[in-house]
Amino acid sequence: MAKGKSLRIGAGISVAIIILLIGFMGVFDVTAVSKIPVDTESIEFRPDIVFFDNMEAFGKLEKTKAVFLHDQHTDALEKKNKDCLVCHKTENGRMSPKFMRLKDVSREELTKIYCDNCTKCHTETIAAGEKAGPVKCDDCHKERILIQSSRVPMGFDKSLHFRHYRAQENKCDRCHHEYDKKSQKLFYDKGKEGTCRYCHKEKPEGDDTEKVISMRFASHSACIDCHLKTRAKNMDAGPLRCAGCHDAQEQLKIEKVKNVPRLKRGQPDNVIIKTGDKKGLIARMNQVPFSHKSHEEYNDTCRVCHLASLESCATCHPLVGSNKVSKNGRDITLETAFHKRGHQSSCTGCHESKQQDKSCAGCHAFMSKTRQQESTACLRCHMVPLPEKTGVLSTSKSAKMARLMPQLWKETFGPIYMVNVPKTVVVKDLMDQYEAVEYPHQKVFNSMVKQLENSKLARYFHYDETTLCLGCHHNTPAGDKPPRCANCHDKPFNENNLFRPGIMGSFHQQCIGCHQKMGIEKYTGCTSCHKERKKQS
């Protein structure tokens, strides 16, 4: 009977396998639930869509988020000659951005405020025989939302800041403030102005008694309130509708002031960036003279460099740290903060991003992103102090440096490229299908010099002729006459020099690659550089 049992097991297994096979073939495939396809074309994009998602603070929502189109309501009320106060309350003469309340309330109260007030107004409007919004729950709390937000963030650039500064009669205290913990009041601290976002973060911070309101709340209550009041005085004022600030097209219409005067906050023209931190540790690097004034011109807001405050870099960044990325960045060392590649706030990161410019990319795109720069490059910023005999009276070392800086820079900017370069170079190593190439060496050099002269940054770092030559004549010792290309670039695919292209490859990669990066479209196709060679019969 034992045999019979094993046979029954065998039969059972085979039945199971058959069922599995059928299963794989998809007969029992009922798991795939068809999803309703959302037609992307029917989705509308608006900058003024507001999701009532603040109920999420109380836990899971009972219904789907209600959708509210703010500009639609503003426009409807304006037509009826009603103002914002229909929906917003005021406190101390300032309108609250919250709907029909001034402070946060409980879940039940909040639900009541929204549901009662919305439906009440809608019902009244419908009763008056006009078009109005929903009065039923599910018409606000929709299953499928066919409107998406096209809101773009808004911020003050230099021009907008200047226009406000001018309009507010140069009175910074109308917007800028500090918080006094003792009196729990806002006050104006002259010379301590910073950007709003230093204190007002994405979400409210701090405990209940000293809550720092979010940037969103702060900006909407301050900006809109002021715009409203200014309009009430029949004066020109900023936007009141959502789209006015948050629509990409509308943003382009905002007037730009050219040549914005420098901000007046007592910032220095020139700074000596010390290479030590607050703890008294000192790095053995030369200090860096830095023109604060000229860097202000290149950036739209202080926050590009001063991420968290307008203090000096060493206030937050230590000389020795773990370099862990944390919320306040206080573990990032000074070295990293200044030299981190790919970060817009670091010196190296920002300078390198300029290399992607058309006039730079021709050479710089081919330079390895991991290359170790020579120590002479460090000295471009970490300047060797000038000798004592240059006649400076001050005893303080940094003061001495500060005074010397303009002189230092003068010496380093605008070199005159007086290199004796060959006019043309004939490349005839590869003559086969085509004739030798007559390369207009001097013309290319001159055009590079011209591009260079347009950029102060480029002029500073290409401090002598050879730095310019290195774009093509790489690995050539500075100041020397470069070796012929074919001295190193020989036959391709040399096992001993895996990463070195052959002679034909290196010419074409360099010439065509540079032309592509610089957007030079004049030379396309083989015959724009080579003449076709007539076969001698």
């Binding site: 009977m1 045999k3 019979g4 046979l7 065998g10 039969a11 297994i13 085979s14 396998i17 390895s368 992103k369 991991t370 290359r371 391709p492 695919f493 096992e495 895996l498 990463f499 292209p501 052959g502 034909m504 490859g505 290196s506 074409h508 990669q509 065509i512 690659g513 592509q516 957007g519 083989c526």
Partner: protein, 309 residues
Amino acid sequence: MSISRRKFLGWVGAAGLSTTIGKPAAAATGKHFTGYPNSFAILHDTTLCVGCRTCEAACNKVNDLPPPDKPFTDLSVLEDRRRTTTKAFTVVNKYDNKEKSKSPVFFKKQCNHCLEPACASVCFVSAFTKTKTGAVIYDSSVCVGCRYCMIACPFEIPTYEYDQVLTPRIRKCTMCYPRVIKGQLPGCVEACPMEALSFGKREDMIKIAQERFRKYPDRYVDHVYGEHEMGGTSWLYISGTPFKELGMREDLGVTPAPQLTAGALSSVPIIAGLWPVLLAGLYAVSKRKEKIAQTEKERPAESETEEES
């Protein structure tokens, strides 16, 4: 008689089952093959390719292929999505660059010379050979024209000379096997003015790819296509755009094609050899039963003791 009908059917069922369950597929192929040591490969760097079609012209020349409909200097053909034909073992296609619309991406297509080629594994006359140079070559003298290779190839490369009535052949890139064994470079590699194609040992080509990733991290997608796809290929690709956008399949997995079928194919000898014996036995038993019944009818009243299990 010690065998019952039920027991016998049990055996038949068990034999059938064992063939379907089988052993793990890899076990059937012996061991995992990672290519011949020091075999060659070609690395195509699409970021360097300018779409000049010089490789196509060179391929045409070294393989003595008929002249093309449009000359190789005519770059308008790049606008169409072309595939390899019996007259063109390699084609370059142009793809839009989503990031930089002004600089399109050019992608060269030809046989990828898999380390474990699907075409060779399906070919029952062994017309395909994976050589130690890395090339997968074809021998038309044994080919019977079944075109299984065309169906098996995951890259849709082999083409068939439908216009040849008497001697149709499969046509595809040979990785210039005849030239490589003479110490010459493959035609396309030698001709490429940009050195967008590199030729050398497969390990070295992967090293070159990795070095370029390291030096120019923002220029490349960090993936060498063909390093592991379908168990690895002798043509390798690096690119700045995802390979999916260049018409390359990203769903192929890393298992070589022969391994996918080896398990099922290894059961063929069992079924072909064992089942006729079993079925013939089944037939013989039933015949014998009939015979016994016949004899019993003729000579009744004898003791009948049948074992039951």
